[in-house]
């Protein structure tokens, strides 16, 4: 291979200037003045500034299918119509919600969203925690009758436990005892989850990555939720489990109580749903590890290190001591 043959790439960052041009051509919005990359994550997020205010442009990764994206964007439109405060996709000319672009690694889609007013909502005051509970409940309540011609992989035990374990396994090649523990722990977690499922757990659309990082708080105190990229049908207790992770990290029970109060005032939560939240909290840790493992080709393997594994194993063991 010489300089003349381009080397294949697995991921690229689209030039913000080129993206600005594409958006201006494709959407009926006020003249754009600036486009900059906000962050590189599972998808690439850009801040587009126009004469009438800011928007967010998301460039999806090549592996996110058009159908999966359509489900997410249909859901956001549905929620918005029902009065739920979410960042909504804006249709391009021709009424399309996602536009294909050609990147070096393949076809990727871009979507333009309204900017969620305000800045990151902090998990430090009970008013915010209460409102976050209401926001989660509003999403769950309003999505009960959501239908889409597109579908999404369900956030089931395969997604939450089996797939992450399979992705993590190679990283534990030199820690056989820890791997044996982790694999057995995954089995025990599944059994616990299935016992709750047998009791009857609420199932429906979940945000899939619910938490303060995906919620903005406006100057009037109102919250707006965004980034539904990991959404899908699942147990609603999983969204609460994600939030319990945040709550446990902050070690403030009062905030967690405020969150649950905010939720329950909008939408009832059965005793089984409530009791299963810790199981999904633990599952969220597993699926997060799996997400890192699946993305090392892009994010690098340096973060998948013994320090992280020690920390997570300590969490799982402490969790078992408390709940088993």
């Amino acid at each position: 291979m010489g300089l003349a043959d381009p080397i294949p790439v697995i991921r690229s960052i689209v030039s913000p200037d080129a993206l600005l041009d594409r958006v201006v051509q494709s959407y009926a919005i006020a003249p754009a003045v600036d486009c900059r990359l906000l962050k590189r994550g599972l998808n690439d997020t850009y801040l587009l500034t126009t004469q009438s205010g800011p928007y967010v442009v998301r460039v999806y990764r090549a592996w996110r299918s058009g159908e999966e994206i359509q489900y997410e964007l249909d859901l956001l439109r549905h929620l918005s119509c029902r009065g739920v405060a979410v960042s909504v996709p804006i249709a391009a000319h021709g009424d399309r919600l996602a536009l294909p672009i050609t990147a070096p690694e393949g076809i990727r889609y871009l979507a333009l969203f309204t900017y969620a007013d305000g800045s990151r909502a902090s998990w430090t005051d009970s008013e915010n925690a209460y409102r976050m509970g209401s926001a989660a409940a509003a999403i769950h309540a309003a999505s009960d009758d959501f239908t889409s011609t597109s579908s999404r992989t369900p956030l089931d035990l395969g997604y939450l436990i089996d797939a992450p374990l399979a992705a993590i396994r190679p990283f534990f090649a030199n820690r056989p005892a820890d791997w044996a523990y982790l694999e057995q722990f995954g089995g025990r977690l599944k059994n616990l989850a299935m016992r709750f499922v047998a009791e009857g757990l609420d199932w429906g659309v979940c945000h899939g990555d619910f938490g303060p990082k995906n919620i903005h708080r406006g100057s009037d105190g109102r919250l707006t939720t965004f980034d539904f990229d990991l959404c899908g049908p699942g147990w609603r207790a999983f969204d609460l489990g994600l939030m319990q992770w945040v709550a446990k990290d902050h070690k403030d029970e009062a905030l967690w109580e405020a969150f649950l109060t905010g939720y329950a005032e909008i939408r009832p939560l059965s005793a089984a749903d409530f009791a299963s939240v810790p199981v999904f909290h633990a599952a969220a840790h597993l699926s997060s590890l799996g997400l890192f493992a699946e993305n090392i080709g892009d994010w690098g393997a340096a973060d998948m290190n013994d320090w992280l594994f020690d920390r997570e194993l300590e969490f799982f063991r402490a969790w078992e001591a408390e709940h088993a």
Partner: protein
Amino acid sequence: MNDDIGNAASGGATRGTLRQLPVTYSILDAQALAAFVEKAYAIGPPLSCELLLPSMNDTYLVTSADRRYVLRVYRASWRSAGEIAYELDLLTYLAARSVRVSVPIPALDGRQFQSLLAPEGTRHIALFTHAEGQPLSWDNADDCRQAGQLLAAIHAVSDDFVNLGTRAALGGGQLVDRPAAALEPFFAHRMQDWAYVTAFSAKLRDRLAELAPELNWGVCHGDFGGGNLTVDDTGPMAFDFDLCGPSWRAFDLAPIQMIAVSKKNPAIWDAFVRGYQERRPLAPADLTAATLFCPVHRLWRLGMQAEHAQEWGVVRLSDSVLDRELKAFRAWEAENGAR
């Protein structure tokens, strides 16, 4: 609506829509890199290759049947061929004089680096020996002392290093003016803080101009201590000289003083300086100036984040990051006088 999306990938859209958009940065395929290294270098095959850390450059771990290597893929438009040649020649020069550094391995064509065509432009790659051992922990006094000896060896040996490759001198312009200019747009909504940054960098410049005539100047590592040291039974080893260049040697000491300050452990600094002086004398002026280079180093790093924001995302310069950095500058001023 669903059909529009579903069909686009299979050719439903017009040619115009499918014109490839320009990109600013890409992550190269690790398997393709392994295949390239197998052909271009006298190692392996078979080789496995894994991305370790995408950062200023992208670092890959290359593993053959019996050995590990580090492959660096330089960013396009970050380092010129001349700058890379300077770095790699320096490493070869240091290693030939028994300084413990990770060294570049020449390719079969004899060149120290190779060039690949990526979507964003030409990217150079270099293969290095792997620095074995554990990351150097500054909690061990003997490690601190040996790290001091190692930096002193780098400085002492490089005194005679002559190179035709180009590396901009890391003087006041590169270390203070350039980062300040790159940071300005990120303070557009914080006019008062920007006024502070401007005034503070002017003070740093003045103080530098005052001290400079007395300070030792020569090749510097540029990021000594920033996770670029490992240690095993035979002692520490330094790697990642990507930020190297001619500068004040006191600039290279600053990161260790910053570590000592952040860990609230002056013994780290004392052991490091003692080790350094065992290998190479350090004038009182250089030693004193290390403190001045702490905020200079911080500003320089922050400026690099600003210059790369369009590849990394501006969240790396969010208000909370800027708050943290301003707090550090102000704390330094309170501690060291606002001269």
